[in-house]
């Protein structure tokens, strides 16, 4: 079996690089394989990881988060210790009230005050004492975001966090996440299969196919104009194997 190393970077702030991955290979995982990934994410950068299902995007995220214990492979991952994961399901503990979910495992004496502040930031003030089952899907995902925020992570790994939400809620969550990212400046790696979401949120889009990076695009130049936005979208859809001329199914084609 090939060797596989994982380092946790402890010093923070001094180095511009937050995540550094060299020749990462992963096999025998449930969701996909990785066939040699090289990726660097810098401080405060918002990266969207785009790809079809089975392309290996979740596998890569889980490798960075060190969540898969059965994974086999080789390569090198350099990741900060204070990284947090936002899952597709909000993963609130059903037996804890909202505030206790947010500050789960925080020992600081001002934990409650910080938790309330984080809840206010995700527009969930006054819901501290609610049970998770009393919240809608979007509200649960806000609480999950607050749970990440309150720890001020250097890196936020988001695994299709809006995948289970309805279209309108998703749009509201996009602007919320964008705002939070601008205020707190963590590096963000957002896994998604939604081209619109990737363009709306990310500074940079990394496209994954069959466990390899097939495109690495800076979004900012395209986002400035409607034509640029449209061009990037069609390019990305083509890379995803969706016919560019026909209206793609499942994607909203709205020009605003």
């Amino acid at each position: 079996m090939a060797s596989y190393t994982r380092e946790v970077r402890t010093e923070s702030g001094s180095v511009e690089t937050v995540v550094s991955i060299r020749n990462l290979v992963r096999r025998f995982t449930l969701k996909g394989v990785l066939n040699g990934i090289d990726l660097t994410i810098t401080k405060g950068e918002f990266v969207a990881l785009l790809g079809r299902s089975g392309s290996g995007k979740s596998t890569l995220l889980r490798a960075i988060a060190d969540l898969d214990r059965e994974a086999r492979g080789s390569g090198e991952i350099l990741a900060p210790k204070d990284l947090l994961v936002a899952f597709q399901d909000a993963r609130l503990l059903p037996w804890k009230r909202v505030l206790d979910n947010v500050i789960l495992g925080l020992d600081a004496p001002d934990a409650k005050a910080r938790g309330s502040r984080a809840l206010a930031e995700v527009e969930m003030s006054g819901r501290e004492q609610s049970w998770p089952y009393e919240l809608s899907g979007g509200e649960q995902q806000r609480v999950a975001l607050a749970r990440c925020l309150v720890r001020e992570p250097e890196l936020l790994l988001a695994d299709e966090p809006f995948g289970a939400l309805d279209a309108l809620t998703r749009i509201r969550m996009h602007s919320l996440l964008r705002t939070l990212a601008e205020v707190h400046r963590p590096a963000v790696l957002l896994v998604t299969h939604d081209v619109e979401e990737a363009i709306a949120l990310a500074d940079r889009i990394v496209m994954l196919d069959d466990g390899r990076i097939v495109a690495d695009i800076a979004v900012t130049p395209y986002r400035a104009t409607v034509a640029g936005h449209e061009e990037l979208k069609l390019n990305l859809l083509a890379l995803l194997g969706v016919e560019a001329n026909a209206p793609p199914t499942g994607q909203s084609v709205s020009v605003s």
Binding site: L67, P94, W95, L104, G105
Partner: protein
Amino acid sequence: MNMPLARLANDDGIVVAVTNPPKPAYSHTSIETPRRRRLGLKAPLSFGWLLGPVLIVLFWGIGSAVGWIDSRILPAPWVAVSTAFDLIEQGRLQENIAVSAWRAAQGLFWGVALGVIFALLSGLTLVGGYLLDGLVQIKRAIPSLALIPLFVLWFGIGETMKVIVVALGVFIPIYIHTHNALRGIDIKHVELAESLDLTHAQFIRHVVLPGALPGFLLGLRFGVMGAWLGLVVVEQLNATSGIGYMITLARTYAQSDIILVGLVVYAVLGVSSDLAVRFLESKVLSWRRTLAK
């Protein structure tokens, strides 16, 4: 004439007014007369479960009054009630209930305590599981009642033996359900705890134990019933007090009314302790949607 106007947009987005809109193809609907056939059950009445028992008592009473039921086989309900009052006047009923309740309480205490300790040891550590789980599974295959002869040899026929038999009847369901719940913690919650860098102690306290609480309470419901069942057996063997002894003595003198009182007492104690656990459940598990409503 006031013709209703429908404002519709055509393909070019131009709004056109249409008089005489086509008749809608829907039927009238209101809250009182839903047009959909409801297939699920309606919400049950709170005390609906009492209907069956009440009907049986009614049938029993009418049967006794009319003479269908021979009073030597089954005394009338009012005979059982007056016997119960006689027994209370003599002080026998409350005395025997107190003795039985004390035995059940001790057995319940030890059964719950040991069941939880064993379940924690074997549910939370691999070594504990290797050591204890097999033993408990083997014990589970041997009926507690079959062990009574051995317990009599070891512990005599005194209170210790009785409490041990009751405790074993409680221990097994508590252990099985708690252990099952501890080992069945959702992998997603484990991942969450890992991603938040919880310590092992925090993980146990915030994730594992509250997650296993519903399982423990289910075990407790079986356990309290098990306590009364164990009691019935030990009190009919070598006892000189308790409800079971009262029944055994009545059998000797063919006092079917006293036997009946004993059975009713067992039923009331069993059902009310089950209700008590369910009440506890609804308080402790208020985070669960099903119980909160």
